[in-house]
């Protein structure tokens, strides 16, 4: 089962786009550098989907690296740990990734960077029981690091009526510019593979696959060299956006369709990001909670773009500094990739568990498009991985016909941006979809 599975016609999904410029060349060959220790860290309290964790420290408390800062606030929640040793200087607010200020814990580092002595011992994952492994993942504060930030232990606890027979790791990294996952797979493939095997063990699944886009042959080779030991299949995927979207990835690898409105488990699959798998391995084998991750700092105007292993809570401005600053004034700061990332208004926004990249755009890359009427060219329809008709949908939404938009399946939209990327009339299709989804959810709640 661990043979290389690169079919003659690379696996893919119907629809999708090929962004003209992938920007990965800026950083894909740059080894991950360990970021220097900072004096101040700002750890946002809520870094997961679901209930925010409950802060358990107070101002003035001394903490060690890996100490609990906040406990999970429920089952669908994740604990938070200190990125270094030092003192809690404040519990207040800091700029969050969604543009508003959010609760945050401020830590002044003592420069010693000492691990906590309360950390659990490393486990031999091949011998540990599934429950032991799962509770270790839960207590280590691991969430989906590809962007979703969904608590990982929840995904690994499917309801008993859903039979899971396939674990899929997302190494597609289909977002242009980002290379954090790529470097992770090239440099520490064994962590990714072991993390995958651990998830397989927890779910009692032997069918484990890692999907990697074919534009990362070095990652595929590195994983493959060790794949056999872990009983993991490496699957080459066509370079096509959004190959790394859960539903599209499941289809590409297994040929199964997640039913509309359903979750991967409805197709018998659990999908996790490769970075999440590596974090799982660290938590299990080393007892280390999730306090650092690889982040790509990139953009054509960045002097020295690269990949850094940074602590959660590092303000983004520091990454820009490590990358030797910028060549010209950026007009956009984006957390995540250019297709689905969020524009920021402050460089003080800290790195969260799901921050895979920091992208600076400026100069000619910023064009403020004027949108015009839909010319019904159908490019959005061809590009939509969910096979919606974004153009006609957006016209319904413009006329505030939200229920009609709902009947036309707007709720299935992934907000992947493929349609808006392709639209020659520059229509704000993703905003329209978001608006309709919000309206429909609101109407549903009433």
């Amino acid at each position: 089962m661990s043979e290389r599975v690169i079919p003659p016609k690379p696996l893919s999904f119907p629809g999708g786009i090929h962004p003209a410029k992938d920007g990965k060349g800026l950083t894909e060959h740059k080894a991950v550098e360990k970021a220097p220790l900072l004096e101040d860290y700002v750890v946002l309290v809520s870094q997961n989907v679901g209930a925010p964790p409950k802060v358990t420290v107070k101002k003035g408390d001394a903490v060690k690296k890996g100490d609990i800062l906040a406990e999970a606030g429920g089952f669908v929640s994740a604990a938070l740990h200190s990125p270094t040793s030092g003192v809690i200087t404040d519990i207040g607010e800091a700029p969050g990734p969604m543009g508003v200020n959010v609760p945050a814990i401020f830590i002044k580092a003592d420069g010693l960077d000492e691990w906590s002595d309360k950390l659990p011992a490393g486990l031999n994952w091949r011998e540990a029981s599934a429950d032991e492994l799962k509770s270790r993942i839960a207590s280590s504060g691991i969430v989906g690091m590809g962007g979703a930030a969904f608590p990982t232990h929840v995904k690994l606890s499917p309801p008993p009526d859903k039979k899971i027979d396939c674990v899929i790791l997302n190494g597609a990294e289909c977002e242009p510019y980002l290379t954090a996952d790529h470097r992770l797979m090239v440099e520490t493939p064994e962590r990714v593979l072991a993390g995958a095997a651990i998830m397989g063990k927890i779910l009692g699944v032997e069918n484990i696959a890692i999907g990697v886009e074919l534009n990362k042959p070095d990652a595929i080779a590195a994983l493959e060299a060790r794949a056999q030991e872990y009983g993991v299949k490496i699957v080459g995927l066509k370079v096509q956006y959004p190959q790394g979207s859960e539903k599209q990835l499941i289809y590409a690898i297994t040929g199964r369709c997640v039913p509309t409105g359903g979750l991967p488990m409805d197709a018998g699959c659990v999908v996790q990001n490769v970075a999440t798998a590596a974090a799982i391995y660290d938590a299990v084998a080393e007892g280390h909670p999730l306090i650092e991750r690889v982040v790509t700092i990139t953009g054509d105007i960045v002097v020295n773009p690269g990949n850094y292993l940074v602590r959660i809570g590092t303000p983004v401005i520091k990454l820009v500094e490590w990358a030797s600053g910028v060549k010209s004034e950026p007009r956009k700061l984006i957390l995540g990739g250019p297709m689905m990332g969020f524009a920021q208004k402050s460089y003080n926004v800290p790195v969260s568990k799901n921050t895979s990249g920091v992208l600076l755009l400026g100069g000619a890359e910023i064009i403020q498009y004027e949108s015009s009427s839909c010319i019904r060219c159908g490019m959005c329809v061809r590009g939509c991985p969910m096979h919606l008709s974004p153009g006609p949908l957006s016209m319904l939404i413009e006329n505030e016909k939200f229920d009609l938009a709902g009947q036309n399946h707007v709720m299935d939209c992934l907000e992947c941006g493929a349609c808006a990327y392709a639209c020659p009339a520059h229509r704000p299709l993703v905003q329209h979809m978001r608006r309709a989804k919000a309206e429909i959810r609101r109407a549903g709640k009433k």
Binding site: Y251, G325, P338, M339, L360, R376, G378, A420
Partner: protein, 366 residues
């Protein structure tokens, strides 16, 4: 990253970051580029029209295109709207397409009225580009055809065609001199091949034969464009060059022209086989009239054609069937324009019929 050069590096100032929704990158296509490419694809046909119809073609093309652009600008100005839509070149394209559908001897005011009809009645009253149901150029052409049937179907050979290809509807070749000697009226008008076919069909007792217009040398002429007809429809060669380029650039949905043309071929082949006196053979139908111009350039207008693959196939087949019905049994010798307009009207219905199912769609049990 060292301390010394830290002071030298340029750090962002963070005061005017743009907050906008994803995606943050965009493909470099835009409406203007699409229109420009379609216009370029029309260039071979434009050149062919000048070769065959001479300066009259230039006159018609320039006046019609200009009127369309002026009409667009005037409408926007009257409606107190920004003139930016002019930049998308769609009015110019509409004007050029209309010119391709006019006879070379169309008088200047027909061109002007046509340009205004296309833009105002065909497009702007619906709300501008993207909101029109019918192909604007065809709206103008058909309106002119109905209002001024004589002017629109009087095909006077001009330019290079003046000396050549003079043939009376009976199929008998004449030359300028013989016409002059027989004291023909000052305006010489002849028929298009389709008109000739309609004429031949009227031969009594069902003894019609299309032999005089379907010889091998005739086909070569039809293919190259040495025949009468609207400006842009005559040269199959030029239209094929442009049409194939459009298909390769994926600017038109290939299903529309291919199914349109194939339907005409199959339909006329069947009729011709069953009743040779009813209609000329299929090749004649493919090479004459406005079929190629209609199939490649008029039916494929993005705004007025279906969005899905299945819809495009149905649309193409529908255009083909209606064209044949009009050509064979209808009152007009040519049916391409009418068929496209009729199918334009059905597009919303076709789109509904071929509604895409979302990925992973499962029909909910009622």
């Amino acid at each position: 990253m060292s301390e010394e050069n830290k002071s030298a590096i340029m750090m962002p100032k963070a005061d005017d970051l743009i907050l906008s929704s994803s995606p943050h990158i965009h493909s470099d296509v835009n409406v203007r580029k699409i229109m420009l490419k379609v216009i370029l694809a029309l260039v071979p046909a434009l050149i062919a029209s000048v070769i065959f119809f001479g300066w009259d073609a230039v006159r018609v093309i320039v006046i019609t295109a200009l009127s369309a652009v002026v009409a667009e600008g005037l409408w926007l100005w009257l409606a107190k709207r920004p003139l930016t839509p002019l930049r998308d070149l769609s009015a110019l394209l509409t004007g050029l397409l209309l010119a391709m559908n006019l006879p070379s001897n169309a008088s200047w005011w027909i061109c002007v009225v046509g340009g205004f009809l296309a833009i105002w009645v065909g497009k702007q009253v619906f709300g501008g580009l993207g909101h029109n149901i019918f192909n604007p150029a065809l709206v103008a052409r058909v309106a002119l055809l109905i209002a001024l049937p004589a002017a629109m179907t009087t095909w006077t050979p001009t330019g290079g065609l003046l000396e050549k290809n003079m043939r009376l509807p009976s199929g008998e070749n004449v030359s300028i001199t013989t016409v002059a000697e027989s004291e023909a009226p000052a305006v010489i008008s002849c028929a298009t091949p389709l008109g000739e076919a309609a004429e031949l069909k009227r031969t009594p007792n069902g003894a019609a034969t299309f032999a005089p217009i379907t010889e091998k040398s005739d086909y070569v002429k039809y293919f190259l464009g040495e025949r009468l007809g609207s400006l842009g429809e005559t040269s199959c060669l030029a239209l094929l060059i442009g049409g194939i380029a459009l298909m390769f650039m994926k600017l038109i949905k290939w299903q529309i022209p291919i199914f349109f043309i194939a339907t005409v071929a199959v339909f006329t082949a069947i009729v011709h086989l069953c009743a040779p006196a009813m209609t000329p053979p299929p090749l004649f139908h493919l090479l004459t009239g406005g079929l190629l111009l209609g199939a490649f350039f008029m039916a494929t207008d993005m705004v007025t054609s279906p969005m899905t693959t299945g819809g495009c196939i149905l649309f193409g087949v529908g255009c083909g069937v209606i064209t044949c019905v009009i050509r064979i049994w209808g009152g007009y010798p040519e049916g391409v324009s009418f068929s496209i307009l009729l199918m334009n009207a059905l597009v919303p219905l076709i789109d509904r019929l071929f509604q895409l199912r979302p990925f992973g769609y499962v029909r909910k049990r009622a």
